[in-house]
Symmetry: C2
Subunit: 396 residues, 2 copies
Amino acid sequence: MKILDGGLELVPGYRFAAVECGIRKQGRLDFCIIAADSPCNAAGMFTTNKIYAAPVLLCRERVDNEVRAILINATNANACTGDEGYNNAVLLTRETAKLLDAPKDSVLMASTGIIGHQLPVKKMQDSVPALIGALLRDNGALIPKAIMTTDTYPKSFAVEFAASTGNYRIAGTAKGSGMIAPNMATMLSFVISDCPVEKHSLKSIFKRCIDNTINSITIDGDMSTNDTALILSPVSGNCIKSEADLADFESALFKVLYELSRMLVMDAEGATKFVKVQVEGARSNEDAKLAAKAIAESLLVKTAFFGKDPNWGRIACAAGYSGALIEEKTLSIYIEDIQLLKKGVPCGFDKKTVEDALAKREFSVLVDIGMGDGKAQFLTSDISYDYVRINAEYST
Amino acid sequence: MKILDGGLELVPGYRFAAVECGIRKQGRLDFCIIAADSPCNAAGMFTTNKIYAAPVLLCRERVDNEVRAILINATNANACTGDEGYNNAVLLTRETAKLLDAPKDSVLMASTGIIGHQLPVKKMQDSVPALIGALLRDNGALIPKAIMTTDTYPKSFAVEFAASTGNYRIAGTAKGSGMIAPNMATMLSFVISDCPVEKHSLKSIFKRCIDNTINSITIDGDMSTNDTALILSPVSGNCIKSEADLADFESALFKVLYELSRMLVMDAEGATKFVKVQVEGARSNEDAKLAAKAIAESLLVKTAFFGKDPNWGRIACAAGYSGALIEEKTLSIYIEDIQLLKKGVPCGFDKKTVEDALAKREFSVLVDIGMGDGKAQFLTSDISYDYVRINAEYST
C-alpha cells in the first residue's frame, strides 16, 4: 500500500464540484457534489440517533440502489424539518439525477449545520445546474473545504494498493468529529474507490472499518442527527473476489478511515492532545470496547490529560463503571510504557517521566483488565478551556 | 412537615465528633463519627462501580447488622488499596466499636479522597479515643465540615414531621456530587432520624428516595469508587407502621435528600446554573429517565446552558440518542413555560424572552415525548470554564 500525496481527485472515475450557494452565510462553499462516471455500489453507516435528519432517511432508502452521485450541503442540517425537509431532499436529488441523466433515485444526500430550519430549496435548486456544469476531476480538493463547519482545516487521505487484477486507489474526506458545535453538528465522511467490490463484501468491509475507526473516536460523547459515512465503488463484472485481494482492499480502506479519524480527533474543538486508549485482557472484545469508550469519554480523564496529570485513579474508575467485567485485583494501567498500576497495586513511578509522556501531543494509555483476550481501541482528545469557550459562545 | 433551622444536632439520640487527624493534610477536620445512643437499623446505597473502595465493601457486609456508628474520613478514599485497605477499615471500626462498648461489627465506615494510597492507620487508630471522648450532640455541625473535599460550603438539612405516634425528625448531610475533583471524588450522604422504622420498610423507602434525588443528579457523568449514602433509624418495639405514617416519613426523607441534592448541584465545580430537566410522555418511567439523564449529561446541552443559548436542537439530539423510544413527530420542548418545539415543528419564539429565562440561576427544561405516561426528572448544572480549570489544574 502506498500513501498518495493528494485526495479525492486521485481516484479515476469521479468528478467533483462545489459552489457558494449562500444557504445560510455568504462567501463560503456550502453546496457540493461527488459524481461517479458510471453506476456504483454504495455502503453507508448512519447515526443511530432516533432523531435523524431527512437526508439520513433518504440515504437509508437509496443506499442499495446503483448510486451515481452524493449531493452535500453545509450550514443547514435539514433535521427536525418533518415531511417538508424530506421532500426538499427528494426534490434536490431528483433534479441532480435529471441533469446527470441518471436514474431518479440514484443520488444520495448528506447535510450538516443548524437543526430545525428548512433548506432554502429554491436557491439550492437554482444552483444545481451550476454544480453539474462545474464537474471536474481536478476539483477533488473542493469537497473537504465545502463540507467543513468548525473544522480548522480540510481533511482528506488517499492510498493506492495492488490487487491481483491491477492497482487501485481509495480516497476519502471527513469533517467534524462527534457532535461538536451547537447545531453545527455532525461527522460526515465520504470515501471513493476505483476498485470494484461486490455489494455484500463492500458493506461488510465498510462496516468493520468504520466500527474500528470513525465509530471508535469520541470528542464529547454526543451523537448527531446527521452522522453519515458513505463509500462508492464502481459496479463491474470484474469485481475483486479473492480473499487476498479483499483483505488488501480492507487494509487500504482501514488506513484511509484511520487517518481521517486521527485528523478528526486532532482537530476536535479545543483539543491539544491525541490519545490512543487501548484495552486488553477483557473477557470479550465487546467488554474491551465498553471500557475503552468509558475511559475515552470520561470528562475527568480528559481534563486530566489536558492537565498532564498521571491520574490512573480516574482511568480505573471509568473502567469500573463502564459495564465491562472488571476486578481491582487483576487491573493494570500503563501510560506509554510506564506502568502505573500492577494487578490492583499502585506502582512506584517517576512522576517527572510520566508527566513528560503526558506533555507530548500524542500518547497512549493501556489498560490490561487481566481476565481474558478481549481487545479494543478508542481514539480521544483532551478537554480544554477552548472546548467550553467554543461551545458556550456560539449563539444559535 | 416543618423545615428546621439546623442540621444533624437537631435529631435526638445521636452524638457527633470530628478531629484534625492529619490524614493527608494538616489543619483541617478529616476524621469524624456519627454515633447513635442505641442500636439502629440502617439502609445503604452504594456506588455500582466495579472498582469500589474498602469501606464500601465493609458497609455492604455490615449494613444489615444492628448499627451503632458511622466512622468517616476525608482526604483518602481507601480505594485500590487491596486487602491491606480492607483490613485497615476493619481495624479502625473494631477499635471504635470497642470504645463504644458496642458489638464488633456494628460500626460502618465511609471514606473520600485520593485513590491508591493506604490510610495512615496508626495515626488514625491513635485518634479514635479522642474522637470517642469528644462525642457530643451539639457537635452535629462539625460533620458536614469534616467530610468536605471540593465543596465550597458544608451542607445539611433537617425537617420535623408528625406521625400518629408523635413528632419525629430527620436530618442529613452530604458532600461532593458526582466524581468531581481528581482523586478527591465521591458523593457521601448520611441521614439520621429518631423515628423508628422497620428494616425492610427503611430499605425500600430509602432506595426510592435516593433513586429520585441523589441518583437523579449529574455533574459530569462520572461515578466514584466511594459513593455511599446511609440512613440510621433506632431499633424499637414501637416502629411506625401505618401506611399514612410511612408515607409521611417518606415525604420528609425525600425533602431532606432533595434539598441536599439541590445543594450538591448548586455547589458543583464551576457551576453557575441549576437546571431541572423534566421528561414527560415517555412510554415508561424508565424511558423517561434515560432521556432525562442523556439531556442532563450532554456536554453540548450543558455548555449551551452556560452560554444562555436556547439551543433546543441539542436537547432533541440528546433525547434521540438516549435509548428511549422517541419520534420526531411527537416531540415537544419547553424552557420554563416557553415552547420551542411542538410535535417536531420548531415554534416561533421571542429569543430575548428565552434568553432572559436562561439567564436566571435556576430554570427548568421540559421535554414531552408525546408517546405515553412515563415521567422522570434529573437535576443538573451547566459546564463552565471553571469546571475545566478546577479539574485540569489539580495535580495528583
